[in-house]
């Protein structure tokens, strides 16, 4: 993989930050060069941790590159044919609620060059140790809460958002970094945000994760729940699964449940995973995919 671009110690520094962008920005300021003039190696992408626990800062190594920006890139790991002189853009989270401001140009002077976190300039230093430094705030979760609040407010929904750790399979325990609970929604509104078979809730969760991952360059997954809907659904699905399993056991005949989204099928699979008499399997494609419960042979 890519070698560490050790271009003679002097012009090389290391910087850290709560996320990659911040680390790079700090490094560029310290080095006193524009992003185009810097060789950036990611030492650690950092981790948001869960609710501030286990967070690790992002770390980068920067060196001033001798050639002008448009010259060929020296890193071997580069296969992206993206043009170097791409237009600058802001992809930082709008911490403000003014969504129409296209570039959340904050007062920090180094913002502009550091804004663009381009793959072409980031040499993913594979094999470099990712060591833990001091704990830091859970920035990714914070920005996820921000994004969800913004989405809801733009959807004309009055609600509160709070992050918590996932506990049950229905929460996405083991899969999501945090569950964002949406509360304070009045009753009529709840059904609207949840949608048929949780469709709107899933869309909200999907768009939220796209935005957060794009903004923070992380691959964290966040669950979204509205007034405990997923919990109630989980309980109901577990009961249903056990009831149908009982009939399968008695009749010796396979039965299929209604089509369900993946997260709900997973709950059914898990609910019956330890059942000695039946097995579960998902059949069908896409929207029509459903769980079949069959007698164990």
């Amino acid at each position: 993989m890519a070698e560490t671009p050790d271009q003679g110690g002097q012009g090389t520094i290391e910087a850290s930050g709560r996320n990659l962008e911040e680390a790079i920005r700090r490094g560029l300021v310290e080095l006193g060069v524009a992003r185009e003039q810097a060789e950036i190696e990611v030492l650690s992408e950092g981790r948001p941790g869960i609710l501030g626990v286990g967070a690790q800062p992002a770390r980068v190594r920067l060196s001033a590159r001798p050639q002008p920006a448009a010259a060929q890139r020296p890193t071997a790991a580069d296969s992206t044919p993206e043009p170097v002189a791409a237009p600058a853009r802001a992809r930082r989270a709008p911490r403000t609620t003014a969504p129409s401001a296209p570039s959340a140009a904050e007062a920090e002077p180094a913002e502009a060059p550091a804004d663009r976190l381009d793959d072409a300039f980031v040499n993913q230093g594979a094999g470099t140790p990712r060591q833990a430094l001091a704990l830091d705030a859970d920035l990714v979760t914070e920005s996820a809460v921000d994004v969800l609040e913004t989405l809801l407010s733009l959807m004309d929904v009055d609600a509160d958002v709070a992050a918590r750790e996932p506990v049950t399979p229905g929460d996405g325990a083991g899969m999501v970094a945090a569950v964002l609970d949406v509360t304070g929604v009045d009753d009529e509104e709840q059904g609207l945000i949840i949608g048929r078979r949780g469709e709107t809730l899933s869309a909200l969760q999907y768009v939220l994760n796209l935005i957060v991952n794009h903004q923070t360059r992380s691959h964290s997954l966040f669950g979204v729940d509205v007034e405990g809907y997923r919990r109630r659904r989980e309980t109901a699905l577990g009961d249903l699964a056990r009831r149908v399993a009982e009939r399968v056991r008695q009749n010796g005949q396979a039965m299929t449940l209604e089509p369900m989204p993946p997260a709900e099928r997973r709950i059914v699979h898990l609910a019956l995973s330890e059942d000695p008499d039946v097995e579960t399997i998902s059949i069908g494609e896409g929207e029509a995919r459903k769980v079949a419960i069959t007698p164990k042979r």
Partner: protein
């Protein structure tokens, strides 16, 4: 609704300055036409139109508040 589409699009594209949304109403239909830089089309449409579809689903909420339904067009 326009702001919702603009916000989501700007967060996902490479060129947020090129994002714009036209909104007009025809009876109970609210039509939203989203424009993005050509290279960003995939970022707002998604594989098999998944992102566009999710945005359409989200639009149902504010549309319902207005007793309307929203139509999202891209391009």
């Amino acid at each position: 609704m326009k702001e919702l589409v603009e916000y989501i699009a700007r967060q996902l594209v490479d060129d947020p300055a090129a994002v714009s949304v036209d909104e007009w109403r025809q009876g109970d239909r609210v039509v939203l036409r989203l424009h993005v830089a050509e290279g960003d089309m995939g970022r707002v449409i998604g594989k098999q139109g998944r992102i566009a579809q999710a945005v359409r689903t989200l639009l149902r909420v504010p549309a319902a508040h207005d007793h309307a339904y929203a139509v999202l067009e891209i391009g």
